[in-house]
């Protein structure tokens, strides 16, 4: 018990700062996605960072939710509720990983689709897909998710 508490403490000092920064980045990316979506509907002007952030309301919702969770986590941390804070972090990172996995699945699917339909595959576009915001940030979230899940399962039943 004491041991797991030790681990818990040590890791939470590492994870909390990273996840707060990550949460802010997710929130900003989410807002940009909304702006891009708006630019898309009005058909006016260029997208912001169009290579990385699509104008998609859905993905902006996901990224903002991740941001929300990170903020919630920080809030719990300051309220001296470290366990709840960890739960929020883990779920936020989990959602981040899920969004990343989905993006990777979609890229694989469009590659397979190219083969099936017999059209030339635009490899450049596929590669850019791996660099989309939710994918990029997801790679960072993956190891953190693993660590926080480990801690969480250690301190709970």
């Amino acid at each position: 018990m004491e041991n797991s508490k030790g681990i818990f403490k040590r890791y939470i000092y590492v994870i909390i700062p990273i996840e707060v920064v990550l949460g802010l980045v997710y929130s900003v990316a989410g807002f940009i996605a909304i702006i891009n979506w708006y630019l898309g509907t009005t058909g006016a002007g260029e997208f912001l960072y169009s290579d990385y952030i699509p104008g998609d309301l859905g993905i902006s919702l996901v990224m903002l939710s991740i941001g929300f969770l990170m903020i919630l986590s920080a809030y719990y941390w300051f309220k001296r509720k470290p366990v709840k804070s960890l739960a929020a972090t883990t779920l936020g990172l989990g959602l981040a990983v899920a969004a990343m996995v989905m993006q990777v699945l979609v890229i694989i699917a469009s590659w397979l689709d190219g083969i099936i339909v017999g059209e030339p595959i635009a490899y450049e576009e596929l590669v850019m897909g791996f660099l989309r915001a939710e994918a990029l940030l997801g790679y960072i979230a993956l190891p953190l998710f693993y660590i926080s899940l480990r801690i969480l399962s250690k301190i709970t039943t």
Binding site: G43, I59, L105, I116, T157
Partner: protein, 685 residues
């Protein structure tokens, strides 16, 4: 030995979320006959347990908490036990939900069933820091208890052995609960009367149980007894005793239930032992975030968004594979067969194969959607979503649970309507089944994409999203109207067991996905297929007789077909205010069969391939943005497909299927017209 030569039969009973279906699969190997219980739309599953060369029939009873006459499921279960007399009733008791599980077990014992207790999920109880002394439990209730872990298969062998043993050694523990001197006296008085006046009744049911039910005032039993010749006398006696009891202990029914629950608590107290200091449970911790007031809803929406991405984007290669295989390969093969008459070639290529294609192209999307949904459901997340939306749904007189048929409806309305079964209250169930078709299913999306893409340009994405939202809003409003008019009455209450979060199990997920997809494939598929063939037939024939397959390629000729004439009629009469092209009107008419057909019949009607339809609609200015949006809204609201109506009829009866048809068409008309009139007032075109 003069033994009846009937098959040995056992029944599985248990409260919801105890792992009953998993135990059923473990016992029967997963193969089951699935149908309905006679007269009601409650699913019945029957399988076979093979042990030591013997074959035992296993009947899965509905998930129930008790054996009252208040709920259809409970009546089914108790009538089955009384009338079919299964050799053994296996009661699955959850170690992490001991109290409610044992309450059902005691109810089964009182009914005189030969019970074997399967104490499931003992591993989870150990994780929670307590152990259940199953030997002591066995001693206290007097029937065999077998601890199992269904997820890993631990204890299943022992369970099978115990069942076989119990078939030969019947144990009856009808007196398991002592209701106290006052009630017990009353019970034995009624028992005597029953044995004297109606011995045939005492043979069928345990007399003690009948006596209890009469004291409780159970409507079903009172009805049955009063039909007997000596019925009136028995009922009078019971009522007299009820009155006397009422003065001493209050409402007898309430008293009896409480006493039984007290007995349960006594047993629980005796058999549960704490073995470790409890820690925070993972489920509570996750729930503190997942059901959070502020972040809960965006999280749920995010999960559903990712589910949609999974269904629509990840399934693309499979859908295209089906498309290529059917519409190119198979189509070409048929066209390549020489020596067939023209009409037959056209029938096969444009009718049959196009019909099969229309169904199968959607199969991957729907299967992926249900796969993702089944995972969310198996994890335990959907129950939390019901909690999150309950407050809003309550304002519309609907239970939070009604959100699940609506979400399933996003995949395919047919299983969506069927999912309304899970709602206990009859009025709420009917309402939910009737509004589920307003969830915008997968088949409507291509219509939005084609027309929106062609006419609305950059705002197409937003228009599509708004239609999904419109569907849900309309569902809630119609739901409220139905609950205020046809299905009045207070809710019988939305109560749901909240299971702990669990890793999804492959077999559970696979079975659920398959069952729902199968419903689309067979129920929707056959109807859609027939519909496509009818579309073909109406397009190649007209008042002048057979027009030949050229009609499908020549718009002028098509005008002369039944379909063309009908479309012009519709466009010049009911749809004249909408400003839709006659071809669009025909496509709507064909869309009655299924939304899958709308785009393909438009393509036929404009005389182009499906891949060019977007360009044609854009170039020819078929729609203005406003009429396009009204058209999309119409497609969203009016009857999703014949298969959905067939499912409504199946679940609620013909009357309600007709009601659904009428309200949906009317609503679609009203909403479209409002969009056009309000839109033009606001200056949209």
């Amino acid at each position: 030995m003069a033994r009846e030569s009937r098959r040995v039969k056992i029944a599985l009973a248990g409260i919801p979320n105890v792992g009953k279906s998993l135990i059923f699969n473990r016992l029967t190997g997963g193969r089951a006959w699935v149908g309905n219980w006679p007269g009601v739309t409650v699913e019945k599953k029957v399988g076979t347990l093979r042990v030591n060369g013997a074959e035992i029939e296993v009947v899965d009873l509905p998930g129930i908490y008790s054996l009252t006459a208040y709920s259809v499921d409970e009546l089914i279960a108790r009538n089955f036990i009384v009338e079919e007399k299964p050799d053994v009733v296996v009661c699955i008791v959850s170690a992490i939900n001991l109290e409610r599980s044992l309450y059902l077990a005691l109810s089964l014992l009182e009914l005189g069933a030969n019970v074997v207790i399967d104490l499931n999920m003992v591993d989870l109880a150990e994780k929670e820091g307590y152990k259940i002394d199953y030997k002591k439990l066995e001693f206290l209730i007097g029937v065999p208890v077998v601890p199992t872990v269904a997820t890993t298969g631990r204890g299943i062998g022992k369970l099978k052995e115990t069942i076989v043993k119990a078939i030969h050694e019947k144990k009856v523990q009808a007196r398991i609960v002592d209701y106290g001197r006052i009630v017990e006296e009353a019970i034995s008085k009624i028992e005597e009367v029953i044995k004297d006046l109606a011995p045939e009744l005492a043979e069928k049911y345990p007399a003690r149980w009948i006596a209890l039910k009469l004291l409780e005032g159970d409507s079903d039993i009172v009805g049955k007894v009063s039909k007997l010749p000596a019925g009136k006398e028995i009922i009078d006696k019971a009522n007299q005793l009820r009155e006397i009891l009422g003065k001493k202990i209050g409402d007898p029914e309430s008293y009896i239930v409480k006493q039984k629950y007290e007995r349960v608590l006594e047993i629980v107290k005796a058999v549960v032992e704490r073995v470790a200091v409890p820690r925070v449970s993972m489920t509570d911790l996750l729930d503190s975030v997942l059901t959070h007031k502020i972040v809960g809803i965006p999280l749920a929406l995010s999960a559903i968004y990712l589910l949609f991405r999974f269904a629509f984007e990840v399934s693309v290669p499979l859908a295209d594979l089906v498309d290529v295989a059917i519409n190119s390969y198979l189509h070409d093969i048929v066209l390549g067969i020489h020596g067939l008459p023209d009409w037959l070639t056209s029938f096969l290529a444009d009718g049959v194969i196009a019909g099969v294609g229309a169904v199968l192209i959607f199969l991957p999307i729907i299967a992926f959607f249900f796969l993702g949904f089944a995972i969310l459901e198996d994890v335990g997340y959907m129950a939390r979503v019901a909690f999150l939306v309950d407050k809003v749904f309550h304002k519309f007189n609907l239970p939070g649970k009604a959100v699940i048929p609506l979400i399933i409806g996003f995949g395919c309305n047919v299983p969506g309507v069927m999912a309304a079964r899970a709602i206990e209250d009859e009025n709420e169930r009917k309402t939910t089944a009737l509004i589920a078709p307003l969830a915008s299913c997968n088949a409507r999306l291509p219509v939005y994409l084609v027309i929106g893409g062609a006419v609305l340009g950059a705002s197409a994405g937003f228009a599509v999203l708004s239609l999904y939202v419109l569907g849900i809003i309309l569902a809630l409003i119609v739901g409220l109207l139905l609950r205020k008019t046809l299905f009045k009455g207070a809710s019988s209450g939305f109560i749901m067991e909240l299971p702990p979060y669990m890793m999804p199990r492959f077999d559970n997920v696979a079975i659920k996905t398959w069952e729902r997809t199968k419903r689309f494939l067979f129920k929707a598929g056959t109807v859609i297929f027939l519909g496509t063939v009818i579309v073909w037939l109406l397009s190649v024939t007209g008042p002048e007789g057979y027009l030949g397959p050229e009609a499908l390629e020549d718009p002028q000729l098509l005008r002369e077909s039944w379909a063309g004439i009908l479309g012009q009629l519709l466009a010049s009469t009911v749809f004249s205010l909408m400003g839709w092209d006659w071809r669009a009107a025909v496509a709507l008419f064909f869309g009655f069969v299924a939304k899958e057909i709308v785009v393909s019949s438009m393509a036929i009607l404009y005389g182009v391939g499906e891949e060019k339809i977007v360009d044609v609609i854009a170039e020819r200015h078929v729609f203005t943005p406003l009429t396009a949006y009204a058209y999309m809204a119409f497609v969203l609201i009016y009857v999703p497909c014949i298969a959905t109506l067939a499912m409504v009829r199946n679940e609620l009866g013909l009357k309600y299927a007709i009601l659904a048809l009428i309200y949906e068409v009317l609503l679609a008309y009203i909403v479209s017209l409002s969009i056009i009139s309000i839109g033009s007032v606001l200056g949209f075109r």
